[in-house]
């Protein structure tokens, strides 16, 4: 059942649809999760940069070449720029103010030290989901940390790692503490359990880390996974149902055709598949099948007729032998009576033998096993031989034999060609009128040896002409029996000629006579072995 076209279609359909849905879902999921991660990274990075850049003012790298002062020396009121948090209720206290041009104030760390620990806090968030920060000084000491980030490890040269995009963890470059970058460097990202952290190196060797739990994002992604799975399953189910209906639509006409064809081949070859949509592929398939049935039916009918005819022809002499022997044995008979019975039996036996021989020749020709022993010979010599054989019969019927023979060489089976000539001549004599004439002509036309047998007989009636080469067809049954004919002579002639790659045809005018024309390839023209005769 699973090997049927319908199931094959369905399984392939399911596999392809499933694969497409899976790829689509995976791609969608990846895109969404990446987008979420990069958004979070951007927020964290923004916060980290603000923290790392230190006191407000133009960043050091934006200053002119001559102004190399720490940022806090530039003064100006600090502003809250922690984008993530919005306005903080308690507000970040301003970093220490230094009057311009005044003596240097506190050490650079002090600015960070004085940052409120709630700098990044948001309102109304879970404690777990609150962003946190931690700021290390040049020597790795904690300058300031938010409320919940006291246990965050320092990303030192041994521990500092960054997570590449593909998730692999590579050691951090040994930059860091000893040679702090002069300004805010490139951010580094790391994943620590459910925590996403961004590390930024600020001026004066400080390191700022801002992190946040990704729990809620993970939960969102988990939800997305389930939704995608559900939607994918739904689409797959709909697709499979559609595919099942579609495959039924495709296979139903095939099934109908196959069932009809089975019924036809099993019972009645005369039935046909109804061709409703002739221009579709299935319509042409049905038409092809119908044509095949047509040929099969014709072939079967011919076979049945041939078998019936052969059986009839064989039974008749057999019943003659049987009945004569039976009658002769019913009582004691005189010697002449026995003799007559034996003669009749012998006659019938001979007839059976010639019929069996003829059937055997035809069967061999049909199977392509005529076993031609091809040799090179002159058709004229074969014709002379055949004429010698039929002369007594011609004299018996008072038929004149005329000839016009040229020397033509062919490569053929001499015995078969002799049989062909004899058959044609005997027919011409037998179906001739009393005192008629038979003319045998042998010549050459182009690359063919042409052999004509012309008679002055009754001719062949127009309705009989298509059936002349048919097996067991006799135009005149009584006359045929007189000649000892089986009705197979011309069929045999045709088989012989076809086996030699030749052709046989005739023209006939009822009442005037018939001409049989045989064309055989000349010697040297036959290159391929004789083809089997196909019917």
């Amino acid at each position: 059942m699973f090997r049927s076209i319908r199931w094959t279609l369905q399984l392939w359909h399911a596999a392809i649809l499933g694969m497409a849905l899976a790829s689509f879902g995976t791609a969608l999921y990846l895109v969404v999760s990446r987008a979420q991660l990069s958004q979070m990274d951007a927020e964290l990075e923004g916060a980290a940069r603000v923290l790392a850049s230190g006191p407000p003012g133009p960043p050091p790298d934006e200053d002119g070449p001559g102004e190399r002062r720490p940022p806090w020396e530039k003064g100006g009121p600090p502003k809250t720029r922690f984008g993530m948090g919005g306005p903080e209720p308690n507000g970040p206290p301003g970093p220490p103010r230094h009057p311009p041009g005044g003596p240097p104030g506190p050490t650079p760390e002090e600015w960070w030290t004085q940052l409120p620990r709630t700098a990044l806090r948001r309102v109304g968030q879970d404690e777990q989901d609150q962003p946190y920060f931690i700021i290390w000084g040049m020597r790795g000491e904690v300058l300031q940390a938010s409320l919940s980030s006291l246990d965050v490890p320092l990303p030192d040269s041994e521990h500092r790692e960054r997570t590449t995009e593909d998730g692999a963890v590579v050691p951090f470059a040994s930059s860091a503490v000893d040679s702090p970058p002069p300004s805010v460097g490139d951010p580094e990202y790391r994943q620590r359990g459910m925590l996403r952290e961004v590390i930024v190196h600020g001026p004066f060797g400080i390191t700022v880390l801002v992190g946040k739990s990704v729990r809620s994002e993970q939960a969102t992604l988990q939800q997305l996974r389930w939704k995608l799975l559900g939607a994918g399953a739904g689409v797959l189910a709909i697709g499979l149902c559609g595919g099942w209906l579609l495959s039924r639509r495709v296979t139903r006409p095939i099934q109908t055709i196959s069932e009809t064809a089975r019924a036809i081949s099993a019972s009645d070859l005369s039935r046909r598949i109804s061709v409703s949509e002739a221009d579709t592929e299935l319509g042409s398939l049905a038409q092809t099948l119908n044509d095949t049935f047509e040929r099969l039916e014709t072939a079967f009918a011919r076979q049945v007729r041939f078998t019936a005819d052969a059986s009839h022809e064989l039974r008749t002499p057999l019943s003659i032998i049987h009945s004569h022997a039976e009658l002769a044995l019913t009582r004691d008979r005189t010697a002449p009576e026995y003799k007559q019975a034996m003669e009749t039996c012998l006659r019938a036996a001979k007839r059976t033998k010639s019929l069996v021989d003829a059937l055997l020749v035809l069967a061999r020709a049909d199977a392509g096993k005529l076993d031609l022993k091809c040799e090179r010979f002159d058709l004229r010599e074969a014709a002379d031989e055949a004429l010698a054989m039929v002369t007594p019969r011609a004299q018996e019927r008072n038929v004149t034999l005329e000839t016009d023979l040229q020397s033509v060489e062919v490569e053929a089976d001499r015995t078969r060609i002799l049989q062909l000539l004899t058959n044609l001549l005997v027919n011409a004599i037998q179906y001739n009128r009393e005192g008629g004439r038979v003319t045998l002509t042998i010549g050459q036309e182009g690359l063919d040896a042409v052999l004509k047998v012309e008679d002055t007989g009754v001719g062949i009636a127009a309705q009989d002409q298509p059936r002349v080469f048919e097996r067991f067809f006799r135009a005149d049954k009584a006359r045929s029996r007189e000649a000892g004919g089986s009705g197979l002579g011309l069929a045999i002639c045709q088989s012989i000629v076809e086996a030699h790659h030749g052709s046989i045809s005739f023209t006939s005018r009822p009442g005037e006579g018939t001409i049989f024309i045989v064309r055989l390839p000349l010697y040297g023209r036959v290159s391929s072995p004789p083809l089997p005769v196909r019917r």
Binding site: S311, T316, L318, I321, S323, E326, L327, T344, K477
Partner: protein, 238 residues
């Protein structure tokens, strides 16, 4: 009993005809369909043996023409065509029986006897007329348990009269059915046969209706004369 054999194989025609003659039938022959049809329409036959594959007019056509002309002579088809459609077609055309070649002569005879009996409405092969018993299979007649020796012609006469017992059988009917077309017996020979049979089977065995013909008045317990008259009504050609 007179039988027409239509067969185009001369050797087979001769053997069938000869064997039937040896079995005591009068036999006519025809070698093609047209001749066969002509003879069957003209002659008074008790049965026809018909081949199917005949020159000029095939057996089916002969049969159809005969039946459509109202001829009800029993016909046995004897042919080499043994295929089912041929047999069906033969029987449907009006044949009474179908026998395929090659055949046993004994079977041919038995089938002929059967269709002749059936068409005469006397299905029993042994007839009892008074103390005379006629066995149509063994072709012997006995009187009072004693076998009576009859010549083939005398037996044929008794058999024909027995088949048509209770019916008036005219002299021309006897001539038609007991002699074939080549027989040139003189008319008074029939009287000789009748008188010989009377000598052997009893004076009253055959009743003479002067100026009309002969009558066999055997009463049979199984089928009475009334029934016989009914069934003989269908045989208008006899």
């Amino acid at each position: 009993m007179r039988i027409l054999v239509v067969e185009d194989e001369p050797d087979l025609l001769s053997v069938v005809a000869q064997s039937l003659r040896e079995a005591g039938y009068a036999v006519d022959t025809a070698a093609d369909g047209e001749d066969g049809l002509f003879k069957a329409q003209g002659g008074q036959y008790d049965a026809l043996v018909l081949d199917l594959m005949l020159p000029q007019l095939d057996g089916w056509a002969v049969l159809k023409t005969l039946r459509s002309a109202g001829n009800s002579v029993p016909v046995l088809i004897l042919t080499a065509r043994d295929a089912l459609p041929d047999r069906v077609r033969g029987l449907d055309c009006g044949a009474d029986d179908y026998l395929t070649k090659p055949f046993e002569l004994a079977e041919l005879f038995a089938r002929l006897r059967a269709i002749i009996r059936r068409s005469a409405g006397k299905p029993n092969s042994i007839a009892q007329i008074g103390d005379v018993q006629v066995d149509t299979i063994r072709k012997c007649v006995s009187k009072g348990g004693q076998t009576v020796c009859l010549t083939p012609r005398e037996y044929a006469l008794v058999e024909f009269l027995t088949l048509h017992r209770g019916e008036l059988v005219t002299r021309s009917m006897l001539y038609d059915h007991l002699f074939d077309e080549d027989d040139d017996s003189l008319s008074n020979l029939m009287d000789v046969h009748v008188s010989n049979v009377r000598k052997k089977l009893g004076k009253d065995f055959i009743v003479t209706r002067r100026g009309q013909g002969y009558l066999l008045e055997g009463e049979m317990p199984a089928d009475g004369p009334g029934k016989e008259l009914d069934t003989s009504g269908g045989r208008a050609d006899v």
